[in-house]
């Protein structure tokens, strides 16, 4: 049960990344970023077809799925996972979105800045443990 989660900003730069467990251990950890960012093209296509923020599974890589969630300000939340758990993943995205909004409220944090706060990281992992 391992996952790789990333938040991609409005200009397609990664803002935050977390590996929970150790997905894709055979191919190498660098592949996580590659797969998620390759899936961004699919997110860009699919996001215009629906007014929902949660885009479900947008791409498949071997036996891994990429799910995506796009916020109102075009910040993408992407998750690499191997099991289908739509409700859990939707709740996970919703909670992380709220967490992201809370960090936005910090006047020193600009949009698209990387988030390297350990408290944020801890909270994301807690949310992951709860829903995934």
């Amino acid at each position: 049960m391992s996952y790789y989660f990333a938040i991609v900003g409005t200009r397609d730069s990664p803002i935050y990344e977390a590996a929970i467990g150790n997905p894709l251990k055979d191919d190498g950890k660098h592949l996580h970023q590659f797969v998620l960012h390759a899936a961004l093209d699919f997110v860009d296509d699919i996001m215009w077809t629906t007014p929902n923020m949660y885009l479900r599974v947008v791409d498949k890589f071997n036996d891994w799925f990429v799910s995506a969630f796009v916020s109102a300000g075009n910040v993408r939340f992407m998750l690499l996972h191997d099991s289908k758990n739509e409700d859990g993943i939707r709740n996970f995205f919703t909670d992380v979105h709220e967490l992201y909004i809370k960090s936005l409220m910090n006047p020193f944090y600009e949009v698209n800045d990387p988030i390297d706060n350990p408290a944020f990281d801890l909270k994301v992992r807690t949310i992951a443990r709860r829903f995934l």
Binding site: T50, A72, G73, N74, M105, N106, F108, Y109, D116, F120
Partner: protein, 199 residues
């Protein structure tokens, strides 16, 4: 240095989610219940902050022209608008086109910030929108001038912050815009939004 913990947010400290309505930090006079639910700011305190912003910036920017003060107020509004819109649009469906976005600004955003909706929206369908508010809340308690002309003249600089607010909100949703404001007589004011149509 980016901290994930909110510094200005007035959402409830007990880990409550931002889902608790009302979502803004600018509403409700005198409601300071310590029970669960978002902490609210008394409106007179907000007015005090807004009105003081003009003279304080002018004093801080020694030797600066008035335009520099306006620019700063607009940038302050821009930053606030960017963050606020992400929070307010959280439960709204994603936007399909610019008219949708402007309608959101006129209704939900205006309701959250000014506790009313915009009274009149006009557009030329080519990227220019005019928002008219006949009873602008932030002008409600302005006093001190004898004639309507003088009062309008005095309050016009304070329209820069709401301009920035709108511009920031639209930027937060992905649209680069130019926002201008004018008032023919307080408490009425008009905001003009020009969105680049990408032609």
């Amino acid at each position: 240095m980016s901290s994930a913990l909110p510094t200005y947010s007035t959402t409830s400290v007990s880990g409550g989610s931002i889902n608790n309505a009302p979502p803004s930090s600018v509403s409700a006079v005198g409601a300071t219940s310590l029970a669960s639910g978002p902490l609210l700011v008394a409106e007179p305190a907000l007015f005090g902050l807004l009105i003081e912003m003009g003279p304080a910036l002018e004093a801080a920017m020694t030797g600066g022209a008035r335009e520099a003060v306006f620019f700063k107020m607009e940038m302050l509004g821009y930053n606030v608008g960017q963050r606020l819109v992400e929070r307010l649009a959280k439960d709204h469906a994603r936007f399909t086109d610019t008219l949708d976005v402007v309608k959101f600004i006129c209704k939900e955003f205006w309701m959250a910030v000014f506790r009313k909706q915009v009274d009149n929206l006009k557009t030329n369908h080519r990227g220019v929108y005019v928002l008219q508010d006949n009873n602008f809340r932030w002008f409600m308690n302005a006093s001190g001038a004898t004639t309507l002309q003088d009062a309008t003249q005095a309050m016009t600089p304070f329209l820069w912050f709401p301009c920035g607010l709108i511009r920031g909100a639209l930027a937060g949703l992905g649209y680069a815009t130019v926002v201008m404001a004018e008032s023919v007589g307080i408490p009425q004011c008009t905001f003009q939004i020009k969105i680049a149509t990408g032609r």
